[in-house]
């Protein structure tokens, strides 16, 4: 009985508004992420079953192979889209054709098969994101698998029709194809598997959003505490009645927090730069580093500054929102609760950017997510690396406008009586008489 009374009291205190809100937001965020992932997986699977194929060999045999491949894919509701490449500039050709990948049957393919030699084919893939689900169609396995089956079918049918298979032919059928891969990023390309590139870049793709999230949480707490503590400890009235303007008070607070945030952003960027350098130099005598550099997937000093700038603007937005939230606090508990809107606003793009390429979401969902100003910072490294300049600079401009609006609002509140009369909770505000 006594235990249950105590248990109920503890449960009631712990299951507060803040915890309930976190639960609700997590459910919404995870559901949204799940829907996005499901959409990405569906699109990825569809993309994998639609093989873009360029037959440069163009012999009776290769045409026959394509025919078999088309028939096999059709059974699985897939298709072969025959394309023609006009040059070896794959980046340009894929852009012209409007496709993300192409399987190339090179000249001499039939000769290799006739000589029972493993024939080489090339798979060219365009990377558009560093997110886990953003490159679902990445990889040559499905296309090459169907091509391999088609080659086996054709060879087997032809050879069997002409008599018994020789040992060399049996060995050939065991491994008829060898795949060479080319990965394209923007206008750059290199002969490497996109799966391998994605593995190499995944740390970088995950790290920026994680750092951004940590920075947002830290800055929110910093500013909410800075303002709410002044209010809760009743030092604010003393400060604002001293011979210093309110504008100076708010500027000093924002500037101090911005300096700390800028130092944090710079330190994290520097740390990330060192970490990426160490990671890439540890494998293949700098070979990986060279490949990523060729593909433009390494960041130069200017790009680090751009990403840092976008991080910094996000932090300033967080600080100005937190300034207003801090004014609303009545006690330590409400100050903690007040950090929730910022945390929730950051959690949505954080989770989505980790798993999805936000640029590939449906237009409505994409604009909803992009309306959250922090999203642009979470996607900044991917946008810079993949040359999504319009999205990057558009996001930067949007963030600056959002920041100005937030600052103007915070300033208006801080300069008015509301700094003393505003509080969290309608009921409490009504009940509380500002005058004594």
């Amino acid at each position: 009985m006594r235990f249950m009374t105590l248990f109920k009291k503890e449960l009631k205190e712990m299951l507060n508004l803040q915890n309930i809100l976190i639960m609700v937001i997590m459910v919404v965020v995870l559901s949204m992420a799940g829907q996005g992932m499901s959409q990405a997986m569906e699109e990825g699977t569809e993309a994998m079953m639609e093989v873009n194929l360029c037959d440069l060999d163009d012999t009776d045999f290769s045409r026959n192979v394509v025919k078999f491949m088309t028939a096999n894919l059709a059974k699985e509701e897939g298709s072969v889209n025959s394309v023609t490449l006009e040059s070896d500039d794959y980046a340009k050709e894929l852009k012209r054709l409007g496709v993300k990948n192409v399987l190339i049957i090179p000249k001499g393919f039939t000769d290799s098969v006739n000589n029972n030699e493993t024939a080489e084919v090339r798979f060219v893939q365009k990377m558009t994101s560093l997110s886990a689900m953003g490159n679902q169609s990445t990889g040559s396995q499905i296309a090459v698998q169907y091509l391999s089956v088609a080659v086996k079918d054709v060879v087997y049918n032809v050879k069997q029709a002409s008599g018994k298979l020789s040992q060399a032919e049996i060995s050939f059928l065991d491994k008829p194809l060898k795949v060479s891969e080319t990965t394209i990023v923007g206008s750059k390309s290199d002969n490497i598997s996109s799966t391998l590139v994605l593995q190499m870049c995944s740390a970088q793709g995950m790290l920026v959003p994680m750092l951004m999230y940590i920075l947002i949480i830290m800055s929110t707490n910093m500013m909410v505490n800075a303002v709410s503590t002044e209010k809760i400890d009743k030092t604010l009235e003393t400060l604002l009645s001293s011979p210093i303007s309110r504008l100076s008070v708010i500027t000093a607070k924002m500037l101090a927090a911005a300096v700390v945030a800028a130092a944090q952003a710079a330190a994290y960027m520097f740390g990330m730069h060192n970490m990426m350098d160490s990671m890439l130099s540890s494998g293949g005598d700098g070979e990986y580093s060279q490949v990523l550099e060729n593909l433009g997937l390494t960041l130069n000093a200017g790009q680090y500054i751009l990403i840092g700038l976008q991080m910094f603007i996000s932090i300033l937005i967080v600080l100005s929102i937190s300034l207003v939230l801090g004014i609303l606090a009545q006690d330590v508990k409400s100050a903690q609760t007040l950090t929730m809107p910022v945390m929730a606003g950051a959690m949505v793009p954080f989770m989505l950017s980790m798993f999805l390429d936000i640029n590939s979401l449906s237009p409505v969902l994409r604009y909803v997510v992009y309306a959250i100003p922090f999203t642009h910072s979470f996607c900044s490294s991917a946008n810079v690396m993949f040359g999504n300049n319009t999205v990057f600079y558009g996001g930067l401009i949007y963030q600056v406008i959002f920041l100005i609006a937030c600052l103007a609002f915070a300033l208006r509140i801080f300069m008015s009586d509301r700094i003393f009369t505003m509080s969290l909770g309608v009921k409490k505000t009504k009940d509380k008489t500002p005058a004594e």
Binding site: D233, E237, T238, P243, I244, S416, T421, P434, A435, E436
Partner: protein
């Protein structure tokens, strides 16, 4: 004025009103003066409008109507100059807990002083007024409520402002410390500093103040010396005057 108080007005409150909601006044057409070297006390029940009036004079809240002139400066048009001439000690005010007492005095002195030597002078005066000795080198979070109040009072008067506005100046202090503070206020008033006090403690008000203003439901109902008021209302003391005036509205 008689009783050795100057005729020079440090504060002129002229029809000061504050409306929070339409038609609901926290303070309405409040008018009174405080002279140089005078201690004026505002007394009234909870929610009477004392703090609102004080906050308007301290430029923390904007007046809906009326004005107040502090040392020749309007709270409406020259709030920064007003703040230069006043110090305000709110009821239950706190200090920065992570600061040492001496650093708090230095910090506040630098906000009020025009130069470094003046800031040092203010800090030294504050150190002497608060009488906290070596404890000034400890963090404020380790102070008792009384110690913290003494530090805050020292802060409020160390710069010798034209007008010190003290809301419940001795709240949280024991009898001995409260007496010391009252004596200090009287001494500083004798040196020409003016005080606007707000308190619930009628004994304190009767002892320390030169004149009293009784405020209720946002209106200033009476002003005068404690002796004059007790005589006018045929009361034994200020408490009875307060009861008679407040229950009348």
């Amino acid at each position: 004025m008689d009783n050795g108080i100057s005729t020079e007005k440090v504060l002129e409150v002229k029809g000061l009103s504050k409306m929070y909601k339409k038609g609901v006044y926290a303070s309405e057409k409040v008018s009174f003066d405080v002279h140089k070297g005078e201690i004026f006390a505002l007394i009234g029940p909870n929610g009477a409008g004392k703090t609102t009036t004080i906050r308007m004079i301290s430029t923390l809240l904007q007046a809906t109507e009326g004005d107040a002139i502090v040392a020749g400066h309007s709270i409406l048009t020259e709030p920064e100059k007003v703040r230069k001439n006043i110090t305000y000690l709110p009821d239950e005010a706190g200090a920065y807990k992570n600061m040492k007492g001496i650093d708090y005095l230095k910090f506040m002195a630098e906000l009020y002083a025009d130069n470094k030597s003046q800031a040092e002078e203010y800090t030294e005066r504050g150190r002497q007024i608060c009488e906290l000795g070596d404890r000034l080198n400890d963090k404020i979070q380790s102070y008792s409520r009384g110690m913290q109040r003494k530090l805050l009072l020292a802060r409020a008067i160390m710069s010798k402002p034209a007008l010190a506005i003290l809301d419940e100046p001795t709240s949280g202090l024991d009898i001995i410390n409260a007496l010391e503070i009252r004596r200090m206020i009287r001494k500083l008033a004798g040196e020409g500093m003016s005080f606007l006090l707000s308190s619930h403690n009628m004994l304190e008000i009767e002892y320390v103040s030169d004149r009293v203003g009784i405020i209720a439901k946002g209106h200033l109902l009476e002003t005068g010396r404690a002796g004059e008021l007790t005589e006018k209302y045929g009361a034994k003391n200020l408490e009875e005057v307060f009861e008679k005036v407040v229950t009348r509205v």
